[in-house]
């Protein structure tokens, strides 16, 4: 069988079930890839699935609410909920706490559960406060360097170093 879009043999036989009735497609590798990566088929990747779900969750909210929600940013990594919604990736571990209200419905939608029941780290969790503070300090340091505020930057660098030393 030949590809429906060129002369090459069709090695991909796709049955599209998303429309009203099933549509059969017979394509070569190149055209199959093109077809499957076309924007209308975003669901293929799980990364974008999270983004898609996040978009769906937003349905029903007013534009104003949405805009407000999207402007909320994580105090540790600085990512906004809008950025997460568009890329499907969170910015840091603290987002799970900072965006808890928005994330829980999404997590429930994906997993059907909210609580982890598997293995746990054996080592006692070191104060998570300190960890998020480290992430925050590193970000502030980067901003200070970018703003050419070297005095502030050198203070921050010492502070980070000291905290990292305490770790060991």
């Amino acid at each position: 069988m030949k590809c429906q879009q060129c002369e090459k043999p069709a090695t991909f036989h796709i049955t599209e079930l998303t429309g009203g009735k099933p549509v059969e497609l017979h394509l070569c590798e190149t055209h199959a890839r093109q077809y499957l990566t076309a924007p209308s088929n975003e669901t293929a990747a799980v990364g974008s699935m999270a983004a898609m779900l996040a978009h769906q969750m937003a349905v029903g909210q007013t534009a104003e609410e949405l805009a407000q929600l999207d402007q909320q940013s994580c105090q540790v990594c600085g990512i906004t909920f809008y950025e997460f919604r568009s890329q499907g990736r969170l910015g840091c571990a603290h987002d799970y706490v900072g965006f808890q209200a928005q994330l829980e419905p999404l997590i429930l939608n994906i997993h059907g559960e909210l609580e982890h029941v598997g293995k746990r780290p054996r080592r006692p969790a070191v104060g998570s406060e300190k960890r998020t503070q480290l992430i925050r300090l590193r970000r502030t340091l980067k901003e200070a360097v970018e703003a050419e505020d070297y005095e502030q930057a050198s203070k921050l660098r010492d502070q980070i170093k000291q905290m990292e030393q305490e770790e060991k």
Binding site: E29, H111, L114, R138
Partner: protein
């Protein structure tokens, strides 16, 4: 050990050994982990990436036997070497394609590999040939425990291991098997199987994971859910469904043998014939034909070829492998000629029949 040393081998996971190896190519588990005191990749600065890479590589090398691993700086790798590792499933496409500092630590026996700075700080996988999920998980768990003793992972009391994408949160565990299902494809039952798998929250993917297509009738079945179930449960969930799919595939094969023996034998023999005599052949056609040949060997329709050889051909006829083998970059049309040459040489040597080679 260098990347080129892999060229003459195939990994253990392709050896065709282990339970149900006629249909189950390999069992694989992967864990996603992040360091507690760095932002996830999307917010990591270049300096963060360097630090994460350095820390994780040092810790990992304290844990795994150094003499038996290859440490790869993926950002300094030639494109063809990246592609070569992707074809062997030792690194992901994502790791090969993204930018910035990133690394991989690869077991030379290809039973496990660890990726640093992929979608999460640390992605590690263990694999074995045949249906062996339990033992693969145990091996992965040991490595995870050993690393965990040395670093603080991002972990939340309620949500478990925290990952960049909420689809992996909780256990961070993906349990998967790679299945060869040609008879279900021929009898057009594969969609039905997939739909029923999706209903029980299992994902079906092609040969190279997320978003890839089912070349050569290979399919990866894996858990979709990672939160709210224990690792053992997830291993069991995937492990329990595999015998059912194996059974479907066997039934479909029996049906083909009984109801259309001539057609099946013809299909298999033609595929074998083309592979042994073609003068130029694309990668996709090779996979397609090898799939028929593989089933033919398993059904006794081809008697002068062994499964490990067929498995090896699937791997070594892929673009980067072929170029490694011939030792130079080739454009598509030269590759197709080299691929045909390689297939003729290997298949005609294998069965001791030199006739076809002179065609």
């Amino acid at each position: 050990m260098e990347i080129n040393d892999f060229v003459q081998h195939t990994g253990e996971w392709l050896s065709g050994a282990g339970p149900e190896a006629d249909i189950v190519i390999s069992s694989r588990v992967r864990l996603a982990r992040n360091l507690a005191d760095y932002p996830f990749m999307s917010r990591a600065t270049a300096q963060d990436r360097e630090n994460i890479k350095k820390i994780l590589r040092e810790r990992v090398l304290e844990v795994v036997p150094q003499a038996n691993v290859l440490c790869v700086e993926v950002d300094k790798l030639e494109k063809i070497d990246c592609q070569f590792l992707v074809e062997r499933h030792l690194i992901s496409r994502e790791l090969a394609e993204i930018q910035g500092a990133r690394a991989a630590v690869i077991d030379t026996a290809e039973k496990y590999s660890l990726m640093i700075n992929e979608e999460d700080h640390l992605r590690m996988q263990a694999m074995q040939s045949g249906l062996n999920l339990q033992s693969v998980w145990e091996q992965m768990n040991r490595i995870d425990d050993a690393i965990e003793a040395k670093v603080a992972y991002a972990f939340h009391e309620k949500y478990g291991y925290l990952t960049a994408c909420p689809t992996n949160v909780g256990t961070g565990l993906r349990v998967s098997v790679m299945l060869h299902l040609p008879a279900l494809v021929i009898t057009r039952q594969i969609d039905k199987v997939f739909r029923s798998l999706q209903k029980i929250n299992l994902a079906v993917r092609g040969l190279y994971g997320e978003g890839s297509q089912a070349m050569g009738d290979f399919y990866q079945i894996s858990n979709q859910i990672t939160l709210g179930r224990s690792e053992i449960d997830l291993v069991k969930q995937v492990g329990d469904i595999v015998p059912v799919i194996i059974d479907y595939e066997r039934q479909a094969r029996e049906f083909l043998i009984k109801e259309s023996h001539e057609n099946l034998h013809d299909r298999v023999s033609r595929a074998y014939g083309i592979l042994r005599t073609a003068q130029t052949i694309s990668s996709e056609e090779t996979m397609h034909l090898l799939s028929s040949v593989r089933m033919g060997v398993n059904l006794g329709l081809i008697r002068d070829l062994a499964i490990p050889t067929v498995n090896e051909l699937f791997l070594r006829t892929q673009p980067a492998h072929l170029q490694k083998l011939t030792g130079g970059e080739l454009d598509t049309s030269d590759r197709n000629i080299e691929r045909a040459r390689f297939l003729r040489k290997l298949l005609n040597k294998e069965n001791g029949n030199s006739g076809a080679a002179h065609n």
